[in-house]
Amino acid sequence: MFSFLGRRFLQALPVAALTTTLVFFLIHLVPGDPVAIMLGDASNAADRANLTRILGLDQPLFKQYYTFLAHIFSGSWGTSLTYDRSVIELIYERFFPTLHLTICALVVSLFISIPLGVIAATQRGKFFDFFSVGFSLLAASIPNFVLAPIAVLIFSVQLGFFHVSGYQSAGDLILPSLCLGLGVSGYFTRIVRTATLEVLHEDYILTARSKGLSEINVLLKHVLKNASIPLITVIGGAFGGLLAGAVVTETLFDWPGIGRLFFNAFQARDYPLVQGIVLWVSFSFLIINILVDLAYSWVDRRVQRN
């Protein structure tokens, strides 16, 4: 297992290097003078020159790249302009609320999609199947910035079940994670349903049934495990999508996570912070994908041998 992990980490290194380089170039894509844009039109020349020097934009490109890498390896990741603190500190403070939110959203979507997909496949062509296909199509078409305001209006404002915004208690996780996870659950439902339909035709299911196993046992012991393999392959991507989608959800729910920090950062044109968050989220995404590969080889032993 450790050699597998080590190999995957080594494979991830060039991707991480490319990602870092792309993120470094972000600030150079700003049309015109990034410093003038950050400080606004009313700024004076002395302030601009000062900020240019602080950001190192007066240095040659390779020197800037070196400084950028040095910041990353030294663990400060640069300094945020709006907060005047190290980028990594700001991210670290906000990362756990985001992690809670995305994990809850993932759990919610699995709880919705696995039963829905499995039952739909066993009831193929009947009402419940139709319902599940309809649900997965609709869920994938509702953006969270449409769903969330309406859900807040109904469940928080009118019915008073939840706080309107913020993260004070675990209960505050319910509404944002439902809103964030719904789109993914539509996607998952579809995958579970197709995978279950395929597994149901396999010989070992026929064998299990002919041994006299009850239908519930066949589903839980044989179908579910094998049908979950295609699901695991897409979980990494879906989790990354949730992390990125948190920008919108966190802004809507005033969530103290990196999604909202990102929103504040690009609104204030705090480019060092924008770069830091993009890098952090893509590194997290790399690690998640390695963990998913590990889970995959654990569920499907055939993969490990290759």
Binding site: L26, L29, D129, F239, G241, G245, V274, S282
Partner: protein, 272 residues
Amino acid sequence: MNRWGMYIGCGLSLLLLFLAIFAPWISPSDPLAQNLAMQFAGPTWQHPLGNGVNGVDLLSQLFWGARVSMIVGFVTVIFSGALGLFLGSIAGYFRGTLESIIMRIIDALYAFPGILLVVALASVLGPGLKNMIIVMTVTTWAGYARLARGSTLRLREEEFILAAKAQGASHFRIIFKHLWPNLLPLLLVQMSFGLGSAIMTESTLSFLGLGAPPETVSWGQMINQGRELLLVAPRLVIVPGSALVLAVLGLNLFGDSLRDLLDPRKIEDRGT
């Protein structure tokens, strides 16, 4: 499901296309015309969906929003599809260093999850329709390129390509005359899904204030405005929100039925 999905998908997509093309002629009034006396007024004969902030006509805004979504969506999908087809097919056809370079760029783009790179690039370039199209093209061509490369790898070993080579056809001729016509159906299916997600992305960017500039109307922008006024007039979110959901749903259903039409194997395991 198949048949009904196809009807609903085609119907909604055609409606969206119709609204986008004819918005300037069928809108009851100027979408940006303000009428402070009518602010948040309910539906009337003159304004069938009522009025929004500063009394703008919601129905006209809805029509013009469809136009912006479709312009950005169509242009993005065509640009990124063409770029993906070109780079993916030459990567798969010529192999070698060229392929490695193109594939590493694709890997790098896939290293950014979901809408992260889109939002980051849009925040750097600033709002505007042109910038939105650039950002979305740059971040979505990789999907088409992967598809085109994968199919090219399979096709280049097929007999008709080998026959063309044996006849002494030039690379250009093989790619243009033999490869592309076979890649196009696959790409078209992908592009119809791409249109749905481009519209979703456009609205997300506009919602975040990174997309449509203030002087153009966009559904995402309408939702962002309406969200602050949800208690005053929930219509301001529900109207553009439903339009967006129906548009994306319609285009996804359309993509599904297109895929079923072009790939008969899929019909079986989709069922019902």
